[in-house]
């Protein structure tokens, strides 16, 4: 792009959140000539998409979409990003914001070559949150194999222990810096796009669905990790209780969604997610039977409808119209789910090897309000106030959405941010 043709460049766009929406906003703005700062709270970019096995619309592995974005970021000098960073405070007005950002210590500096020596040296193991606690990793670790930036992290949990010193000693590049501490920096931005994404709804809160009580009840996001090559089982979908291959699987749709006691709204993605998960299972286990208990199947649009119809044609997949409202453990670690089949009017008790709860998405802002003058819905989604301008929410911070919708929305918000700067 030639500079002369460029728009009047003034100010910076800050993007809070480095998931698929944030990356999209950042790249769209930067590639037309604007300076962008990405603030990401994890030690890596990529967000929820990085945790998926495959994603819609083409059922690509996440490496497919994310790697090209990372490449674009690397190549674009207009984009700066901070990982392990959180926005603490936002002051100012559209066109002129002052943002305080807390940078948490990674304890590993840019000398890191990714040699794995620190991991080898470390003895302590901690719960792997990237895999939803289904396995453990060392106290010094690479968040996941395609983490970007590809730099190791030392968990605060081992700081001050012998392990931390062992890591430091093991590093041949002087990359481990145990003296690092959290600091707050202040940056200016003309516009801010909040792409803070979502959390899987806490399934343990759905008391009647037994998550946390029985090991063979997992969530849809846990299934993504189980099905992923870089997941805790190397991509094999296995029962958590005994590591065996499940022969029968039940999906519980609307687990904690469209439910006043939990998330009152439809999360949009869970029906398609379960249909997609059915393909994972059917590919790995051609004899396994899948039951999908639903209230309404929502497959919006022509393509999704087509996908749904393909799954419906599979004779190993049964759809039961009726929500699972009770679960109990059966012999051999199986789970018996109970629902009323509303078509026949009979109560069904089905015992399966594995139960997958199709839990919904809760905006990250629901747990802790974003530290800025924004409007929120009761559920914690940001309401975009285009009249006021200056700050916008993209992707799942704004509403439940799939990757495609998030990217469309994120592109639109890049434009809104640009307009804020140009109008000034």
């Amino acid at each position: 792009m030639s500079e002369t043709k460029g728009a009047p460049l003034s100010g910076t766009i800050m993007v809070v959140g480095g998931g698929i929406s944030g990356l999209t906003t950042a790249l769209e703005a930067a590639e037309v000539g604007y300076d962008v700062i990405i603030v990401e709270k994890n030690p890596y970019l990529g967000g929820r998409v990085a945790q998926l096995n495959q994603y819609f619309p083409k059922l690509c592995p996440p490496s497919c979409g994310l790697e090209i974005n990372f490449r674009r970021i690397k190549d674009n000098p207009r984009i700066k990003f901070f990982t392990l960073a959180e926005v603490e405070k936002v002051d100012g007005k559209p066109g002129d914001y002052k943002v305080s950002i807390r940078l948490n210590p990674r304890y590993v500096n840019e000398n890191c070559t990714g040699c794995n020596a620190c991991t080898d040296a470390c003895q302590a193991e901690i719960s792997n949150e990237f895999n939803f606690g289904m396995d453990k990793h060392k106290g010094a670790y690479l968040p996941h194999e395609m983490a970007f930036p590809a730099r190791y992290v030392i968990s605060p949990q081992i700081i001050g222990t012998e392990d931390a010193n062992r890591c430091k000693e093991a590093c041949a590049y002087d990359a481990v810096d145990l003296e690092m501490s959290a600091k707050t920096i202040e940056l200016n931005a003309g516009a801010i796009v909040w792409a803070t994404g979502w959390e899987p709804y806490d399934a343990a809160k759905i008391e009647n669905l037994g998550f946390g009580r029985y090991p063979n009840i997992i969530t849809n996001m846990m299934l993504e990790r189980l099905a992923s090559k870089n997941g805790p089982t190397g991509g094999k979908i296995l029962r958590p209780s005994d590591g065996t291959e499940p022969k029968s699987i039940a999906f519980v749709q609307c687990a904690g969604s469209r439910d006043e006691n939990h998330l009152p709204y439809c999360s949009y993605i869970c029906c398609m997610a379960s249909l997609k998960h059915t393909t994972y299972i059917r590919e790995q286990y051609p004899d396994a039977a899948v039951s999908i208990f639903y209230i309404d199947m929502r497959a919006p649009g022509y393509r999704y409808e087509k996908f749904y119809n393909t799954i419906k044609d599979d004779e190993k997949v049964t759809f039961i119209k009726g929500k699972v409202a009770a679960v109990e453990e059966a012999s051999g670690d199986g789970i018996t789910v109970t629902a009323e089949d509303t078509i026949s009017g009979e109560k069904i008790r089905q015992t399966v090897d594995l139960v997958v709860l199709a839990t919904g998405m809760q905006p990250s802002a629901a747990a802790s309000k974003l530290p800025a003058d924004l409007q929120f819905t009761e559920d914690g989604f940001v309401v975009n106030d285009f009249e006021k301008g200056g700050m916008f929410a993209a992707g799942c911070a704004n509403r439940p959405a799939d990757v495609m919708m998030s990217n469309q929305n994120a592109t639109g918000m890049a434009l809104k941010a640009i307009q804020t700067l140009v109008k000034r």
């Binding site: 469209r258 006043e260 309404d296």
Partner: protein, 390 residues
């Protein structure tokens, strides 16, 4: 579509259900959580999901004739788990109120009993009946016999005798026809009710029995009565489990007081023993225990309803509880004031007590208390129908 079915919605029925506490009805989106949440719904055609959609569509005939609405014990488990706040428990209660309404004739009485605006009139009605009947009888040439005496004498031992105020003849001239009235209305209602619930069960595939045979049906009735007395179903409830004990207290009090009434009736009319009976009389003791249990149970139920804000309590619920508590309190107070010798007070309270008894008998088939009969019959029918349960 090979099968055609023309739905004939009764829109007034939908309105009535909503007015009777099923306001939230239309929020239901048929997820069927309720049918699973219910600890007592059978596997075959469980409730209350199907009742929710039928009520929403205004299918009155299907609902008032359903045995299932009576199998529901209003546990509230469905309501607490409902993802939409559609309160199926309240809707079921509203359908039951409509079913009582549907089967109790004359309809005008039913309307009056369930209309709070009519309460003042209904409240003084028994007083008027008593005074008018009393004065008319008094006016008849019956010699020195006093049916109604506004300056009653004390008994031989100087004790207060309530029947010197209202003669037991006057009381029974009114109450015996009233009990017959209640029984007759129930008999008429049950004839239709039993035929209807059987037709409903056949239509919905809940039974394979073609006809109702009297003897086996009676055997089913005998089988379910111990379960009812033990509150076997009621105690399976989750949410409203705490209601089972006070409900049991009230039920057993009524049974005990019915027995006491029967025994004293025999004392009076067959053995010719006049009251008041000594305080240590075994049936007097039973009556007093029952009286206390009635008051305590009634007040507990009242308080539980007040405390339970997520469940709707309507006029029909309160009316029944007022009657229960009123009966107990005035009965006990009439006795205490009589023993204490407060003449005016005790006659007044006794009079009020009789008014409550009047309500109990006269409006039993129209009030919520009719659940005693309908639920028992529906439970017996369910046993008889050999419907698949858990």
């Amino acid at each position: 579509m090979s099968e055609r079915f023309l739905i004939q919605p009764d829109l007034d029925f939908v309105k009535d259900i909503r007015a009777l506490g099923g306001e939230t009805l239309k929020k239901c989106y048929q997820c069927a959580t309720c049918s699973v949440a219910c600890p007592i719904a059978p596997d075959n055609k469980p409730f209350p999901r199907k009742e929710m959609i039928a009520a929403s569509w205004g299918l009155k005939d299907k609902l008032v004739s359903s045995p299932d609405v009576w199998l529901c014990h209003n546990c509230g488990d469905c309501t607490s788990q409902c993802p939409r706040g559609a309160n199926p428990g309240d809707v079921m209660a509203a359908i039951r109120a409509k079913a009582i309404d549907h089967y109790a004739v004359p309809q005008s009485v039913s309307k009056a009993v369930n209309d709070p605006k009519m309460l003042p009139l209904l409240a003084i009605l028994p007083a008027i009946v008593f005074l008018v009947v009393g004065l008319v009888l008094q006016w008849l040439p019956t010699g020195s016999f006093e049916f109604l005496n506004f300056s009653p004498q004390r008994g031989d031992a100087g004790q207060i005798v309530h029947s010197n105020f209202f003669s037991h003849w006057l009381v029974d001239i009114i109450f015996i026809p009233l009990s017959i009235w209640a029984v007759a209305i129930f008999a008429l209602a049950l004839k239709r009710f039993v035929a209807d619930i059987h037709a409903n069960a056949l239509a919905e595939g809940k039974t394979k029995k073609e006809k109702i045979e009297f003897k086996p049906f009676l055997a089913s009735l005998v089988r379910v009565i111990p379960d009812i007395l033990k509150h076997k179903k009621f105690s399976q409830c989750g949410e409203n489990n705490n209601r089972a004990t006070p409900h049991m207290m009230v039920l057993f009090s009524f049974i005990a007081l019915a027995i006491v009434t029967g025994v004293f009736f025999v004392h009076l009319y067959i053995l010719g023993w006049h009251g008041p009976y000594p305080q240590i009389h075994p049936f007097k003791i039973l009556a007093n225990i029952a009286g206390v249990a009635l008051i305590v149970g009634g007040i507990m139920l009242y308080k539980q309803r007040l405390d339970k804000t997520d469940e709707l309590s309507t006029y029909k619920d309160w009316y029944l509880l007022w009657i229960v508590i009123g009966l107990g309190v005035t009965g006990m107070l009439a006795q205490f004031t009589r023993l204490a010798g407060f003449e005016f007070l005790t006659y007044l309270i006794y009079f009020i007590h009789l008014m409550f008894v009047f309500h109990l008998f006269a409006f039993l088939p129209f009030s919520k208390l009719a659940h005693l009969v309908y639920r028992t019959v529906a439970m017996a029918y369910n046993d008889y129908s050999e419907r698949e349960s858990k």
